[in-house]
């Protein structure tokens, strides 16, 4: 297990993440232009979608893939449900709903880094796991919005109504509006579109696009992880968001717990080890792109500094540095 973790730590992409975090913590003046940073996100999503689509075209959707997708959706419902139940008894219910959504959803970059980790180790995984990833993005957001709406209604019943019912600024957001916001998120649309294009283009398209999706992929991932490290380092050094003790513990304890549940589920339904590790990573990761974007809009009462900092500043580095090799080592020992 330690050997696996050490091997992961000397992966160049992971080392660039560590370098970025160190530079951020030192408050160095290194800057990656925001436009390039955003481009790298889009590049990774596009490459991920194309590769996943091509893999789906060549491998199809076997019974194992359908089971993996069902398991992924089940985890996307289970994680926010228990997270909200646990947190809302301890902290502000709106913060609880937003954190539940963040942790019920996924981190595409953690998923990509895991795919790269598995590829280096020669472990196979299905293209359908990219479909599973896409499908895991939204249920948690919807559940959290429903929960936040319930909290709002409960609070409104306890307070004297001051809102004018005819005032459209005060009308609560409908599920349709939130769903539209989540599904039309640019990153999400690019990923789904790339998946479809990768599927339609098939193997020929994969070969044509490989200079873009394969040859330069690792370097681009390393560059992106450098940027993410910088962000994490600066989030920590700025230290502006006050994270409650319960949330701090949740940010570090829920990933291995979620991963353990996902691995048990994967074992029960007979997934191959690569798919099991990916399911574990999807279940243990937290969204810092799509969910924070939607939560700011749909759960404005929640503090973005809390759920964004937890996902990006705590859970993301934990999974990149410790989680991925840990989940892989556990899966290896159970599956063999």
């Amino acid at each position: 297990m330690l050997g696996s973790a050490a091997a992961n730590l000397i992966d160049p992409a992971v080392l660039f993440f560590v370098l970025g975090a160190a530079i951020g913590l030192l408050r160095s003046n290194l800057e990656i232009p925001p436009a390039i940073a955003k481009f790298l996100t889009l590049y990774l999503l596009m490459a991920l979608g194309l590769k996943g689509g091509a893999a789906l075209a060549s491998g199809g959707l076997p019974a194992e893939g359908i089971l993996a997708i069902i398991a992924a959706i089940a985890m996307a419902g289970f994680v926010p449900a228990y997270a909200f139940y646990f947190l809302s008894r301890r902290i502000d219910p709106f913060d609880s709903a937003a954190v539940a959504a963040t942790y019920g959803s996924i981190s595409a970059v953690t998923f990509i880094t895991t795919q790269q980790f598995l590829s280096v180790k020669g472990v196979e995984f299905g293209g359908y796991m990219t479909v599973a990833m896409v499908l895991m993005e939204t249920p948690a957001i919807l559940m959290a919005v429903v929960l936040a709406t319930a909290v709002r209604a409960r609070q409104a019943a306890l307070e004297v109504a001051v809102d004018d019912p005819n005032d459209d600024v005060f009308q609560p957001l409908s599920i349709r509006e939130v769903l539209q916001e989540a599904l039309t998120d640019g990153a999400q649309l690019l990923l789904i579109g790339s998946l479809v294009i990768g599927y339609l283009a098939g193997q020929d398209g994969k070969v044509e696009m490989s200079p873009f999706t394969a040859d330069i992929f690792k370097g681009m991932l390393a560059f992106f992880l450098l940027e993410m490290g910088l962000l994490v380092g600066r989030q920590i050094s700025e230290g502006r968001a006050k994270i409650d003790k319960e949330l701090f513990l949740f940010a570090f304890l829920s990933p291995p717990i979620n991963a353990a549940i996902a691995l048990a589920l994967a074992y029960l339904i007979g997934l191959q080890v690569g798919d099991a590790v990916l399911l574990a990573v999807l279940s243990s990761s937290a969204s810092y792109i799509v969910v924070p974007a939607v939560a700011r809009y749909a759960i404005p009462e929640a503090r973005p500094g809390v759920y964004f900092t937890m996902a990006l500043g705590m859970t993301f580095p934990f999974n990149i540095l410790v989680g991925i090799p840990l989940y892989y080592a556990v899966a290896q020992s159970v599956w063999t």
């Binding site: 925001p34 940073a37 600024v169 700025e238 974007a293 009462e301 503090r303 973005p304």
Partner: protein, 107 residues
């Protein structure tokens, strides 16, 4: 030369995700013209580095009449009351209008 007009310049700082919502609210007050600039910074909501789509801020500049400004400020106050992270401030400006002023024009 055109006649200089006295107007208000409203500046709104908000997360990029809320831009559409704020613009929709402005449209309801008959305001269709604005300028948007990407921004980064930090505040009580934490660091807005501008490096990710989810942690970028925008600054909206809107020129309008005093009368319309009061209505927009009420709207922004209501958004803030619901918890939306919006900062709004305004200043007096003198502007050389693109169109010559019409008698009875609204803004």
């Amino acid at each position: 030369m055109r006649e200089i007009e006295e107007k208000k310049l409203l500046t709104i700082i908000t997360p990029g995700e809320l831009q559409r919502m704020v613009v929709e609210q402005l449209k309801k007050r008959g305001i269709g013209g604005y300028t948007v600039v990407s921004a980064s910074g930090a505040g009580t909501s934490g660091l807005q580095s501008g490096m990710l789509i989810s942690d970028s801020s925008v600054i909206l500049y809107i020129i309008m009449s005093e009368e319309r400004l009061q209505k927009v400020l009420v709207d922004m106050d209501k958004l803030m009351s619901r918890g939306y992270r919006v900062k709004a401030f305004y200043q007096d400006i003198s502007i050389l209008p693109r169109k010559k002023a019409r008698t009875g024009g609204k803004s």
